[in-house]
Symmetry: C2
Subunit: 337 residues, 2 copies
DNA sequence: CTGTTAGCGCGTTCAC
DNA sequence: GTGAACGCGCTAACAG
């Protein structure tokens, strides 16, 4: 049925065809295969088109070609400073190939993420899932329907780009050990987060190598508030240094510490992850680097390659990290140890 | 024609219909008007559908109904910390009404923005343009085709939601005047930015009221680097305080000042705008508040209202601001004035 | 080089 | 309560 009367309808190919005295096909070709038409014909059609404000209907084109010209990008939290640079880079990379990008915010929930993916599936050619909270099975199921690229999530068989924070975390442990710390705490992030699992494992391994005691304190959601909230738990462990899941959490921890009169780094050392705050905090935060923009670009680029049917097999891109030493780490207080 | 052989095709309504022994229409109704069907029929169909992974094709539905179920959100720079909370809020508001949202990054370029809008037009029901860099005419032209909501851009006749930073800026001027400053400088943002024009005007007006000298220094793009780069120009004016277009610029200025051994706030006062950094900087930044998340939610909500054809006329929502005094402002050095 | 035809997947009148 | 037929705007065969 028609779209109704009151609605403002865009001019269609037919409108252009009529006022140009040609058939729809000709108009169509003027836009998709100009080489097949007379140069003047093309010019005239494009002229008329723009004069009446005609723009090819993306949707109708998609339906008939199966090429949607859209991709989807799903993240757990747009407002988490880790993601905006990634989103931006991915967006611009997609744009270079004239793709439109849907943005989804899963709000750290797998249900929401699953819903979004289903909604996107029928109007995109492929998707990038960042730090997906879905189960491996769901991811595989979705990947069966559309090309899929994962970011910071390691599912064998699914193309993925991973920020290998293990290296940076190892450096952080070594750094703390060298400073003389004997007992550290890892403040974890979301349980379903691959990055969190990787970092936790790296902390455990590094601690063993350097013969450090390590406690784990859980901050479910990576945020300033979470970090601030778990400070009592952190202090209760008796550790002299903390490695946080991310910078946001670390920043919250610093505030919580300050609230309790514990000064950083004199009384307690803090290390973040992701380097999203730059040197903005005071003291400036020692943290593990990241390259979220490169990650976003790489993931989108990989996806576009897949769409170009250039087979990509079981791609597994890895970006490594390093420790950025600033001013929140120092030897433990002399009274301790 | 068909989408080809090699392509992975989603299950269609027809597939569900066949394995359920009913017609396509019935399947369609099961999803859109369950009330018209037998309760058991509906259940069985939905069951089968999800078992074979069928999801209604958004695109085909859009084509036949004219309701795309999509909206677009365009911002100048996703990575500018002002926007992520806005994007997030807008995204979630749209999601509450089951809308998918396209994200566009205009990269501070009107050409890019125009291109994006055209690409979006034929697959969305409406759009939100944030801090648009387009001319009034272009905006009006686009608004003719699709419901449009502006953020921080004031075009009469087009629904818009504005953060009225004038109030906060006035407070900032009063604050500086009270501290004893006689000469201040406004570090401007993008020329085509409504917010920038508004802030500049507010600075001018406030300065006149308080009998302050005011110089203008231009930082084309709002960023850390820009702020840092214009510090020589700022110092050259002989002013004792600066109001920056935004927090990013302010942060850059603080760094540039530190590079030259000018200490804040003892030697020089700095005020930001947007309060995106929280108290993360050191000294913590005195700034003008913003409510970017509310703005995002309000804009999207307004757009959805328009789509629900609840006429909205010439809406002009305003969110006011106030000065957040922290630690980058103090009396000017005694040696001066 | 250009016009004609069929059909992408779905929603929706109509009949049954 | 359910099935058949048409059309949304466009592209891709097929003629000419």
């Amino acid at each position: 049925m028609t779209t109704g009367k009151g609605r403002k309808d865009l001019p269609t190919m037919m409108d252009v065809a009529r006022t140009a005295g040609v058939s729809k096909s000709t108009v169509s070709r003027a836009f998709t295969q100009p080489g097949m038409l007379g140069a003047e014909t093309v010019a005239r059609i494009l002229e008329i088109a723009s004069s009446i404000g005609y723009v090819p209907n993306h949707t109708a084109r998609a339906l008939s070609t199966g090429r949607y010209g859209n991709v989807a990008l799903v993240v757990p939290d747009v407002a988490n400073p880790f993601f905006p640079p990634l989103i931006r880079a991915a967006q611009m990379e997609a744009d270079r190939s004239d793709f439109c990008v849907f943005l989804g915010n899963s709000d750290e929930s797998w249900r929401q993420e699953d819903k979004l993916v289903d909604r996107f599936l029928s109007q995109v050619e492929g998707l990038v899932l960042c730090a997906s909270r879905l189960t491996d099975e769901r991811i595989r199921a979705h990947a069966l329907k559309r090309p899929l690229v994962l970011v910071n999530r390691d599912v064998p068989g699914i193309p993925r780009v991973l920020i290998d924070s293990a290296i940076g975390v190892h450096e952080a442990i070594a750094h703390l050990a060298e400073l003389g710390h004997k007992h550290i705490v890892y403040v974890s992030g979301p349980a379903s987060s691959w990055s969190n699992q990787q970092r936790r494992a790296a902390v455990r391994l590094g601690a063993r190598q350097h013969r450090l005691d390590v406690s784990i304190v859980a901050a479910r959601v990576p945020s300033y508030e979470s970090g601030r909230a778990v400070v009592p738990d952190i202090l209760a462990t008796g550790a002299t240094a903390a490695i946080a899941f991310d910078d946001l959490t670390a920043q919250g921890i610093m505030t919580g510490l300050a609230d309790r009169g514990v000064s950083v780094p004199a009384d307690f050392s803090v290390v973040g992850c992701d380097d999203v705050l730059g040197a903005a905090t005071y003291p400036s935060l020692t943290t593990v680097s990241n390259r979220s923009d490169e990650t976003g670009r790489a993931a989108m680029s990989l996806l576009l390659d897949m769409l170009g049917s250039r087979a990509v097999g079981d791609a597994r891109v890895t970006l490594d990290t390093y420790l950025v030493v600033r001013n929140t780490t120092a030897p433990p207080p002399a009274t301790r140890s």
